[in-house]
């Protein structure tokens, strides 16, 4: 479904991604783990077209999206939940969701999707008229995920959904991620520092170090891998 081929990304003269090759098939949950500054978020930004790659190729459903505008990429069906949630603090929950559906015009369908999300996150339904900035961290994360789902993505990119959340809420978030995957058949690409959790949700994983993919395997094997254990799982 998504294919990154030897992607290289630069911030100015600093190379953030070196020859990154990733492949994701439809319906999968794939995770990308790595430490701070490894280039995980940059990978997502490159996919979204916000930080376009200098060389290499990104294919989405067979179509090259390497140098497309971000909004075109979203309209093709890739949506990102950015790191640190980044909801719009002065817009209400409803308005935030509406921003997620910015490119869609089918009003009745949007309404139905909102109802579905409110079912999924009853807390958001209660707070639908509240300003996004007044929600708690966990609620904001739910809102950020919902907002991205409003775009009806075929591929959902999640950037560190566990960042700054209480363990219990992290657990719930990951349950939701799995639910979205099974119920909507949404392919999910999960970027995480919390390798343990990420690998438990995902079927496959990529390990990134200094902008390079150093390892890729099924989650089970990665969890059993000595190097990964040492570096990311804290055993």
């Amino acid at each position: 479904m998504l294919k990154l081929q030897n992607v290289q990304t630069f911030y100015g003269n600093i190379q953030a991604l070196k020859d990154v090759t990733i492949q994701i098939s439809e319906g999968e949950i794939v995770s990308l783990i790595g430490s701070n500054g490894a280039g995980k978020s940059t990978t997502l930004m490159a996919i979204c077209g916000i930080v376009p790659p200098r060389s290499g190729e990104i294919l989405f459903m067979g179509q090259p999206i390497t140098h497309m505008e971000p909004d075109r990429i979203v309209s093709l069906g890739i949506c990102q939940v950015p790191e640190g949630r980044r909801i719009f603090p002065h817009l209400s929950v409803l308005e935030n969701l509406d921003m997620g559906a910015f490119l869609r015009k089918d009003r009745s369908q949007i309404k139905r999707d909102m109802e579905y999300l409110f079912e999924l996150f009853p807390l958001l339904a209660q707070r639908r008229h509240q300003a996004g900035g007044t929600l708690s961290g966990g609620e904001q994360q739910m809102l950020a995920i919902s907002r991205a789902l409003m775009a009806r993505p075929k591929l959902l990119l999640l950037d560190e959904p566990s960042l700054g959340l209480a363990p219990l809420i992290v657990k719930r978030t990951f349950e939701i991620v799995r639910k979205i995957n099974t119920e909507n058949k949404t392919t999910i690409f999960l970027v995480e520092q919390n390798a343990n959790l990420a690998l438990k949700v995902a079927a496959r994983g990529y390990v990134m170090e200094n902008g390079r993919i150093t390892l890729t395997d099924s989650s089970e094997n990665l969890l059993a891998n000595e190097g990964v254990k040492k570096a990311y799982l804290g055993f």
């Binding site: 979204c48 077209g49 916000i50 505008e69 971000p70 909004d71 990429i73 979203v74 309209s75 949506c79 990102q80 939940v81 950015p82 980044r86 909801i87 719009f88 603090p89 002065h90 817009l91 209400s92 308005e95 509406d98 921003m99 997620g100 910015f102 490119l103 339904a125 209660q126 707070r127 008229h129 509240q130 300003a131 907002r147 991205a148 775009a151």
Partner: protein, 408 residues
Amino acid sequence: MITFGQIKKAVLVSIWFMFLTFPIMVIRVNPVEHIVEWRWKNMLLVGVGSFILSFVWHYFIRRKELGAQKAELGEWAEAIPLAQRIRSKKTLYKPALVAAGIFALAFPFIFSLYQTNIMASALIYVMLGLGLNIVVGLAGLLDLGYVAFYAVGAYAYALLNYHFGLSFWMVLPIGAALGATFGILLGFPVLRLRGDYLAIVTLGFGEIIRIILENWNEFSFGPSGIANIPRPSLFGIDLSVHNATIYIYYIMIGLCLLTIFVVNRLQDSRIGRAWIALREDETACQAMGIDKTKTKLTAFALGAMWAGMSGVVFAAKTTFVNPASFTIWESIIILCIVVLGGMGSILGVIAGALVLILMPEYLRALSEFRMLAFGILLVVMMVFRPGGLIPNVRRTYKFEGVANDEKS
């Protein structure tokens, strides 16, 4: 309530001011008679004045801090601004609106022509403020060259009328379109800029337009400007100066209503929300598929459009345009209207425009102190009401519990 510490602070402030103003307030050299006058009385005045002022200043600051503390503790229900309270109560809001409407309609018959004239120019600034409010208040793009679009509108009417004899009503939409076009023209190069850089470039743009108008004699008749621009006619009838002024006043009322209506609708539309979202987080917007370029350009275009229109009215009202009317100072005033009134708030911008434009007119006797008063007003506002005269309150609702919500 008055503590020793407060008095000490005020005394220190007054001593400092006495010292600071000593050279200009006390010493006066008389070069003719070669004597130095020592005006000790002035020093006393400065001392007492600054003592009282600093005392009052600190009193209000403390009161504000106390209020904030109480609000945090929940003792004090968060002070809802008066305008907001009037708006939220239907029984108050409707009569207030009707009263304002009647007052606005009856204005030319109650007050003199002079007053009507001033009010019409204040209304031009209301429109300019509301237009700039789209760019600055909603989209968060600091535009210091807004007057350029105003100039475009004014010169559009002046030149199109001079060369082709187009009437006011024909040029009004053309002015709007030209304003929007120039808005996009400015928008393109500054799309990547934010904050300070954007302000500087827009400032430059405003100056470029003015300098072009000043120097391109063949096109714009240079600094001498264009005179004898006809006032708007009523169904082909030329009006006397007296009637034309009243007519322009009503045109401005109509245009302001149109602006308010459109801006209000825009605020609650998807593009309006996209502006707010873009102001808050550009990256998140991009991740949502909001086209940054298009959204910013529409903000520039829709903001500039109103300036173009009000420029046309301005030219028709004064019957004369020259580049001196479109200096950077005008941009600053319009920006002050938006900031002072309350960014993003329609009512606030209207209040800001009326205060900033009408006050200098009615206080002509104190015109020497205009700049001083202006500065003091801005400083006081920023300290005590940083949100503006009537701050923008987006519709928010309090969480009312589950049972209540399920019904709705």
